[in-house]
Amino acid sequence: MNHDAPGIAFQILQSVFVVLAAPLLMGWVNQCRAWLQNRSAPSVWLPYFALNKLFHKDAVIARDASPLFRLTPYVLFGCMWLAAGIVPVLATELPFAPAADIIALVGVFALARVFSALAAMDIGTSFGGLGARREMLIGFLAEPAMLMAMFTAAFISGSTQLTTIVGTLAHREFAIYPSLAFAGLAFLMVLLAENARIPIDNPTTHLELTMVHEAMILEYSARHLALIEWAVAIKLFAYMTLGFALFVPWGIARAGDWSALPVAFAALAAKLALAGAGLALLETLLAKLRLFLAPEFLSGAFLLAVLGMLIHFLVLG
């Protein structure tokens, strides 16, 4: 791990970059979706303007809200900021990287989910309970599925440190690992579930009874809502870059290696553009599942991940 100045510079650069670039990714996905639906697209910079507008507003809070309610948006933002610092977006061997491995990363996301569910239950209306209950229903299967998918990568590279995984997988000669293919498919399914995308949840719905994630943040407004929306964008960014690090890790620089940075940026931009377009395509082609088919969807992901792990052990591929 590089604890010297270039390493720390890389760390700060990556964290700030992710936080600033995440809304752009959301804008890109929305734009691709609009093109696919034959609508004229909003600008890719729209999320930034939306955030700015939200920050200017007065926060309207329910009378009986507890301190937990007001604290949660900041905690969520902090958790996502931490996740952005750990995932090797631009570079491996960052100073913060050894602080958390893939299991701790799943733990960070779980912490964020628990806090947002608690904040949802704080108001005391039926919608908050609805959102919290549904979110935990999806979360209780998504978390083990993601852990199993990441364990497959961990078994192949012999470590749970993201730095080591990226290093091992990027520098091996190109080989098709069926187990990684299964784990990748499972990871994609979990990405859709955890980031509240179709087919699990519709991020643009206005009907409260169909909401999962949106029902949890129904009471938030102004700067709290802005922080939560920003955290959601950073979460999607972190998930996508985590997928890249585990399954297509080429192009990631080493911390302190300034010459490799432009390549890293270019590779990241290309991967994100493709992934964002792919996400929009998936959202357009699939329909939202009935709520109680979501556990079946996610147990399918869980079984795929377990299958991938078994295939790794028994076929060594």
Binding site: P178, L304, L307
Partner: protein, 218 residues
């Protein structure tokens, strides 16, 4: 591992995945499509083995598989379910998550069984023997838990797919004569099944197999 054996491993994994997917599918039309994909994966893997080990009779084998398992039999089944108007097999004997868990147990058992055997073989694809055995067992499981007759037939055909894959992976395929014979048997069998289905439907007005229990002597 060479590229050819890696691709064969990938196709084997795909085969196993399709076997699991068939366990969990409720729509019969999707089952037929999955069967067709399984046949395609099978012929692709036979083709690759043929090209990397220069065994000409495997080319014929692959061609036969494509014609029979990817085109002919799925088409026959398609027409069959159109005539019988069977679309969904909603209930299984035990629910789907439990079936999947049993399936995973069977897969581990099959792999454990196949490891010493595959260490003896010296073919290109020996590590896939376990997967072939697992697909056979999973197809058998599928036959057991289904309530309608058509998915049972599909399970039977999937079992045959698994056996074929086992043959290719252990011994580079059976002699061509044997293969032709087996293929003919499977084709004839499918036609006969079709005739039986009409009879069953006429007799019991439904294709659920538990009606056949009425035939026992009481």
């Amino acid at each position: 591992m060479t590229l050819a054996s890696q691709i064969v491993n990938l196709l084997a994994a795909l085969l196993l995945l399709i076997a699991f997917a068939m366990l969990s599918q409720r729509r019969i039309l999707t089952l037929i499509h999955l069967l067709a994909w399984q046949g395609a994966a099978l012929s692709a893997s036979t083709l690759i083995v043929a090209s990397s080990t220069a065994q000409p009779h495997l080319y014929w084998s692959a061609a036969l598989t494509v014609v029979l398992k990817v085109i002919l039999i799925p088409w026959v089944l398609h027409r069959l379910i159109d005539k019988l108007n069977v679309r969904w097999d909603v209930e299984t004997l035990i629910n789907i998550p439990t079936t999947m868990l049993i399936g995973i147990g069977l897969a581990i058992f099959a792999f454990a069984l196949a490891t010493p055997i595959s260490q003896m073989a010296n073919t290109l694809t020996r590590s896939t023997l376990g997967i072939a055995l697992a697909s056979v067992l999973l197809a058998f499981l599928m036959m057991i838990v289904r309530r309608k007759a058509v998915p049972q037939v599909i399970g039977f055909l999937a079992m045959e797919n698994g056996l074929f894959f086992a043959a290719t992976s252990a011994t580079y395929g059976m002699p061509l004569v044997v293969e032709l014979g087996v293929a003919l048997d499977v084709l004839v069998g499918t036609f006969i099944f079709g005739i039986f289905f009409f009879h069953i439907r006429e007799q019991f007005d439904s294709l659920e197999i538990r009606h056949m229990e009425k035939l026992k002597e009481d």
